[in-house]
């Protein structure tokens, strides 16, 4: 129990105050309030890594979702929320509804390409990128399709093309994206030094980009550079995927200072499983591989993750988990996928095969 009335129980993050209730009420009747407000919440989710904000955004969009005629902006935002929760199939449904109303909605095509890419449906994703050409910038279209080509047997040439794509030709918001694509491609090519440079350049531009930070931490951890990983993640430990990487770094350093964090992660994964969410299965598998070695639990999580998504990191985790559990055949779906797509990834040789 708190010792005094003055004791602070919680500090409220910006955007999570009750005082917004009037604006929220207004958003029920006014689309010009609802759209920016839900966008604000989504950007808060992005900046803080806090899933609650996605819920707030969803609540704002709720009354608008089934409006007739359909509101494509609302549907695309809803799809964005859904895909952030890894509900990919419903996200695609929303995007297709939006595109029926507004066939040249660049944001919808781009989101669609992203979702299909995460699902490993590269041909369809590429098709979505092509639709961008009509309404979006040529550099954006190129980034969209080249990053997909890099996954389907054209890694080297795609890397060269994106690297040659002048940063100035891209709108500012897309520059960090280019760096993250370059970083990933370099990693898959086995050129970790260049990869690190790209990822760090991206972080300079967008320090709040958790995707870039996690990718950078993973690269450092692969080289056993635990101290630098901790530096990179300092101050971001409240976000579970960052915390996971920080705990792995502590494990590498054997400094025994991560027990509390470990318990927090375990509890978070447990709650998520209880809720039936599948958002962090990949992280959970990683936890059972690198933090609390439980190979069969790791394999179960990696397999469940594989049912939901197929990014290069998902291949990596499934193969690693299968090997750790001495069940080589469990990695078969990932190997088959690699072959079908002619996906190249230098990390696979070292880590799994």
């Amino acid at each position: 129990m708190p010792r005094s009335d003055a004791q602070v129980l919680v500090e409220l993050p910006a955007g999570a105050r009750h005082s917004a209730v009037e604006t929220r009420d207004l958003a029920r009747s006014r689309l010009d309030v609802a759209l920016p407000l839900s966008q604000f919440y989504i950007s808060r989710a992005r900046a803080t890594g806090d899933l609650r904000f996605l819920g707030y955004a969803e609540a704002i969009l709720n009354p608008w979702q089934s409006r007739v005629p359909l509101l494509p902006e609302v549907l695309v935002l809803h799809a964005t929320i859904l895909q952030s929760r890894h509900a990919f199939a419903p996200a695609l449904t929303e995007l297709d509804r939006a595109l029926r109303v507004q066939p040249e909605d660049a944001q919808a095509w781009l989101t669609r390409a992203t979702v299909l890419r995460v699902l490993g449906r590269y041909d369809e994703a590429l098709e979505s990128c092509r639709h961008l050409a009509v309404s979006a910038d040529a550099a954006i279209t190129a980034l969209c399709s080249e990053s997909l080509r890099s996954l389907t047997g054209h890694l080297q040439s795609a890397y060269a093309t994106v690297a040659a794509l002048g940063q100035q030709t891209l709108p500012p918001e897309a520059r960090a994206w280019r760096y993250s694509e370059l970083g990933e491609m370099a990693e898959r090519l086995g050129n970790d030094a260049e990869a690190e440079r790209w990822l760090k350049a991206g972080l300079q531009l967008a320090p709040e980009d958790f995707y870039l930070r996690a990718a950078c931490a993973d690269l450092l951890l692969r080289h056993g550079r635990a101290g630098e990983t901790l530096q990179l993640l300092a101050g971001y430990e409240s976000v579970e995927p960052m915390l996971l990487r920080s705990v792995i770094a502590h494990k590498l350093l054997r400094d025994g200072s991560s027990e509390q964090a470990q318990a927090r992660l375990a509890a978070a994964f447990e709650l998520e499983q209880l809720r039936g969410d599948a958002v962090h299965r990949r992280e959970q598998a990683r936890f059972f591989l690198d933090v609390e070695p439980q190979p069969s639990a790791a394999l179960a999580a990696a397999q469940e993750n594989w049912r939901v998504q197929r990014e290069p990191d998902d291949i990596l985790i499934l193969l690693r988990a299968a090997r750790a559990a001495h069940q080589s055949q469990a990695g078969e779906p990932a190997r088959r996928f690699l072959q079908q797509q002619s996906l190249e990834d230098a990390r696979l040789g070292a880590a799994t095969l």
């Binding site: 129980l9 919680v10 500090e11 910006a14 009750h18 966008q39 989710a45 806090d50 918001e173 962090h280």
Partner: protein, 371 residues
């Protein structure tokens, strides 16, 4: 074009999901008879969003601010957590507000009790906390009834969640009554002695005034089967009638007649009157033994809502115990049937011993003052 790009970085989050646990409330409920006790926990952050706690709007919620909001929080929970037992509402009575530390922050913790005014067999819970603010908020329920613990995720699009407390509890009762039945046949030696008295001669044939061993196992087996079946049928009938309160006999009468039945069955082995249709004796007296079983059941009581099932379980228990005895004793008896010892000593003198024990019981039960 700008809108197109505003979410670019967000799209990439697909692989590293925004972290932080989603919003959860924790609901614990323990059902005991007609009352429910438990607690509700909501993150202080969520309480702020729901009712506004940060009175001085400094972005920090203090214990004092939370405490000052307690009546409004109670009111909010009354509106958003609704318990009912078969359409009878179970109004929540909240106790003093406390806090609980969880991995993702501090939670407001309100213990409660609720009275449903009737035995709770089916509990319905409607949970709608934060549904208009964060549709991804869920209530994680731990529901305990007896020794059975159920968990569930409440909220979202689901309306009320309904929990049957009997489905799992029934199984527990079933096992309990099955065990009671087996135990009763083992400890209730009078039923066994009666049955054995009828079974001992099943491996013999009466020729004139002499006993002869049955030549083959088959007739012996059929004899045993008939006796056991007749006894079972009879006592199952009366057990059910008595347990369901359809027929009632004073226990002193049934207990005395049971003792008498043993005397009759045992004496019949020494001075055989009925030799070919012991099954009829088994049936006739079995009716009374059924009332005897029922008195045990009356002591235990049948759980309301699972009366028939528990009765069946108890009966099955009796048959199981009985069958175990028959299967153990009869092969031995069959093996000994040709020996002089069996026909001249065990059968007559054993039966005489049984008859005298039963006589003592009879005197105790029928003639001595009860108490």
């Amino acid at each position: 074009m700008t809108r197109c790009l505003r979410f670019m970085a967000l799209l990439l989050l697909a692989s590293v999901a925004p972290a932080h646990i989603a919003s959860n409330g924790f609901l614990v409920a323990r059902v005991e008879g007609s009352t429910i006790s438990g607690s509700i926990e909501l993150a202080v952050r969520d309480v702020e969003l729901a009712i506004g706690v940060d009175a001085n709007r400094d972005g920090k919620v203090t214990w004092g601010e939370l405490r000052a909001s307690e009546p409004r929080l109670v009111h909010y929970l009354e509106q958003h957590v609704y318990l009912s037992a078969e359409s009878r509402s179970c109004p929540l009575q909240f106790q003093a507000l406390r806090v609980n530390e969880r991995v993702d922050g501090t939670y407001a913790w309100l213990p409660f009790s609720a009275d449903c005014g009737m035995d709770v067999r089916q509990l319905s819970i409607r949970y709608s906390a934060l549904d208009d603010i964060d549709p991804s908020h869920r209530g994680l329920l731990t529901l305990t009834a007896g020794s059975v613990v159920q968990t569930a995720v409440l909220g979202g699009l689901d309306g009320a969640a309904i929990f049957s407390l009997y489905a799992p509890a029934r199984w527990g009762a079933f096992v309990e009554y099955l065990r009671a039945g087996i135990w009763h046949i083992w400890s209730g030696i009078d039923h066994l002695l009666f049955l054995l008295s009828l079974l001992l001669p099943a491996v013999l044939l009466r020729r004139g005034d002499r006993w002869e061993p049955v030549p083959r196992p088959w007739p012996a087996f059929m004899g045993i089967l008939k006796v056991v079946t007749a006894f079972t049928l009879a006592h199952s009938m009366t057990l059910s009638l008595a347990a369901l309160d359809i027929v009632r006999l004073p226990s002193r009468l049934t207990e005395s007649v049971i003792a008498a039945s043993i005397i009759v069955a045992a004496l019949n082995n020494i001075f055989p009157l009925v030799t070919n249709s012991r099954a009829r004796i088994a049936f006739a007296f079995g009716l009374l033994h059924g009332f005897g079983f029922a008195s045990v059941l009356a002591d235990m009581g049948l759980p309301s809502g699972a009366r028939l099932l528990s009765l069946l379980a108890f009966n099955l228990g009796i048959e199981t115990g009985q069958l175990a005895v028959v299967l153990t004793v009869m092969p031995v008896v069959y093996a000994l049937r040709s020996t002089v010892f069996y026909r001249r000593a065990l059968l007559p003198w054993g039966s005489a011993a049984v008859a005298s024990i039963a006589l003592v019981w009879f005197v105790q039960r029928a003639l001595l003052p009860s108490g």
